[in-house]
Amino acid sequence: MGTEKLLDKLTNLLNAKRRKQKKKLNSLKKLLKKLKKRQEEHQELLVAKKDPEGRKRIERTLKVIYTQRKKGLKLYKDITDDLKGKNK
């Protein structure tokens, strides 16, 4: 284990807020992964769907997932920035 990684672990251990942020980041990562998977599934469904009403519905679902992912990615960036700021 490198010195930097070791220091990071030690800081996590001593800083409760940072520890919490890291945990949040992990949960967010998992959630974004799930959304990504759902997005891909719906993109495949859209290709297969022929009727216009069904296609519109899937497109709306894709827009929902897209908006949520966009918000999630922004949140992810905020937390990592925050963590980096704390590192500085």
Partner: protein, 597 residues
């Protein structure tokens, strides 16, 4: 096959009967009016369940001696044991009293009715209640048209009584022809054989005249004219006592199984009492003489002696039967089994898990899921869709189209059997869990309880929607029919999506935002659809109001079910919940997706 043929056959037989005999027509009409009176009476008493009448009845019938006294007093006042027994049947059918209480009242009514014999024998008096039928009907119907639930209830009770009296009156009128044919002298036979024959005549005469009082008057007249012996007169009185149960049996025809059990109890009591009186006739005659001598009744005053006998044998009947009331209840419940009304009971809530908060919360979540399943079934049935069709993969459009003509599902009945008992158990269970107020567990507990409330509200909202879903399903206006068809489709689609959420482990609470978008899109007011329909004169103002109201109910059902799904079917993690809340779509984002902005 038999069922299909039965009703038309009954109609044909009745029609033929009406054609050949006006008396038969009058009797049948009397029975029909009487039964209608019973239905109205029950409807009226239902309005008071949970209210003052229930409290009064509970207080006056909670002990056997009280229900006995109730029976004696009410029958003495009304001068009709038949009427009291019919009223008791309707109390019982409406769930106001228990079978044991009802039996107590019936026993008491048998004693109370003997005051009639005293009145007739002693004073020649007879309270004629049938004269009140018309005013009762008039007052009753006026009250039915009132807004207040209590006044409406009183109206139904009054008109019910009015119809009962009117029905009895018509039955009596119809039987007048038979009455003249009853010549007591021609049947005079001495000994035990005579006793039985006159008992049967007494039964027949009372059934025909629909009144044991009328039979008593007949007996007393015949006795005074020395047409029959004193012993035969006593046998007739026994017969009158048994025959009077016919009214209760008639009343029980329109009643539920509880009412039929009570009519059964009435019949058993009167038959056993009658048998005791016949078997111990000599002892009874000695006792009557003994009592008569002591109260100063003349040796040859047979009419008053008859009244003594009537009271005495009913009193003996009560003394003999009272210790067996419990057995009688068991016997009747075994003999007359109702349709087993399946009531949902909690599967997971047990006292044992209360001590462990995590286990208690999981038990509560599972029970809430059970409640949701029941609610989902009721909602599907209200939409005229089989619950299994919602869970299947079959094309929903096809399913909704197939069952276009709506049938009325009795939501109240389903609610009482499958929602209320579970919700009651859940609320009681939650109140027993001890958790710190500021813990995550407490928040979860609160969420689960709220989800259960949403489920109950969704069922209530669907009940509001039901009326128009049914009435507009057959409307001539194609547009309104289509709109309500669309409401059915939207709810069915929501149920199916939530069912997928329920079984999909990969789902997150964010997926429910998709349902929110669909709900917003389908909102008839927000989408401008309603304005378009009104402007284009496609629907009437009345239809528009219905659509606005029902659109609101639809939205409520949708929101309730989405929030329920969020709490019950997405993984619970307080940390994750905060993140998901941050990522959930806001109103303007939903509108942007729908390109409203």
């Amino acid at each position: 096959m038999l069922r299909k043929v039965l009703l038309p056959s009954i109609f044909l037989v009745l029609a033929y009967g009406f054609w050949i005999s006006p008396d038969f027509k009058e009797i049948a009409a009397g029975v029909a009016i009487f039964l209608f009176g019973m239905l109205s009476l029950e409807e009226g008493f239902k309005a008071f369940t949970g209210g003052a009448l229930e409290r009064i009845l509970r207080r006056t019938t909670d002990k056997l001696w009280k229900s006995l006294t109730f029976g004696v007093v009410s029958t003495s006042i009304m001068q009709s044991s038949s009427l009291v027994s019919v009223l008791t049947i309707s109390f019982l059918s409406a769930g106001l009293i228990s079978l044991a209480d009802g039996i107590g009242i019936i026993f008491g009514a048998n004693l109370g009715t003997t005051t009639g014999a005293w009145l007739v024998a002693g004073f020649g008096l007879k309270v004629k209640i049938s004269a009140y039928a018309m005013p009762m009907l008039v007052f009753g119907i006026i009250l039915i048209f009132q807004q207040s639930k209590n006044l409406k209830g009183i109206g139904y009770v009054l008109s019910g009584l009015g119809f009962l009296f009117l029905g009895i009156h018509h039955m009596k009128e119809g039987f007048e022809a038979f009455k003249d044919g009853i010549d007591l002298v021609s049947y005079a036979v001495p000994g035990m054989k005579g006793l039985f024959i006159f008992t049967v005549i007494g039964i027949f005469a009372t059934v025909v005249m629909q009144s044991s009082h009328a039979t008593l008057v007949l007996i007393i007249t015949a006795l005074a004219a020395r047409q029959i012996s004193y012993e035969n007169a006593l046998a007739l009185a026994i017969g009158a006592n048994v025959g009077t149960t016919i009214t209760a049996i008639l009343g029980a025809m329109s009643s539920n199984v509880a009412g039929r059990r009570l009519a059964g109890a009435h019949l058993i009591f009167n038959v056993i009492t009658g048998l005791i009186a016949i078997i111990f006739m000599k002892q009874f005659i000695t006792s009557v003489n003994f009592v008569s001598n002591n109260v100063g009744i003349a040796e040859n005053d047979f009419t008053l002696k008859l009244a003594v006998f009537h009271t005495l044998f009913n009193l003996v009947g009560i003394v003999v039967m009272l210790p067996f009331v419990g057995h009688l209840v068991d016997f009747l419940e075994g003999l007359l089994r109702g349709k087993v009304k399946k009531i949902s009971e909690p599967y997971y809530l047990s006292e044992a898990v209360l001590e462990m908060p995590d286990a208690a919360i999981e038990a509560l979540r599972k029970e809430a899921d059970h409640l949701f399943k029941n609610a989902s079934n009721i909602i599907a049935l209200t939409l005229n869709i089989k619950p299994d069709d919602i869970r299947s993969g079959a094309d929903l459009t096809h399913i909704v189209d197939r069952k276009d003509r709506m049938a009325a599902t009795n939501i109240d009945e389903y609610y009482d059997a499958h929602i209320k008992p579970l919700y009651n158990a859940i609320i009681s269970f939650v109140s027993k869990i001890r958790i710190d107020d500021d813990s995550d567990q407490h928040a979860r507990l609160y969420d689960l309880r709220t989800a259960c409330r949403y489920i109950v509200e969704a069922v209530k909202d669907i009940k509001h929607l039901q009326k128009n879903l049914i009435s507009f399903s057959t409307s001539d206006n194609v547009t309104i029919k289509r709109e309500y068809h669309s409401i059915r489709f939207q709810i069915a689609s929501l149920l199916r999506t939530i069912e997928k959420v329920r079984t999909d482990e990969d789902i997150t609470s964010l997926s429910l935002d998709e349902l929110k978008v669909e709900a917003e899109r389908n909102d008839i007011l927000a989408s401008g659809t309603l304005d378009h329909l009104i402007r284009g004169n496609l629907i009437t103002a009345d239809m528009a109001t219905s659509l606005i109201n029902d659109g609101a109910y639809l939205r409520d059902v949708t929101d309730d079910l989405i929030e329920t799904a969020r709490t019950l079917f997405t993984p619970y993690d307080p940390e994750l919940k905060k993140i998901e809340d941050d990522m959930a779509l806001l109103k303007d984002e939903i509108e942007a997706i729908l390109e409203k902005k």
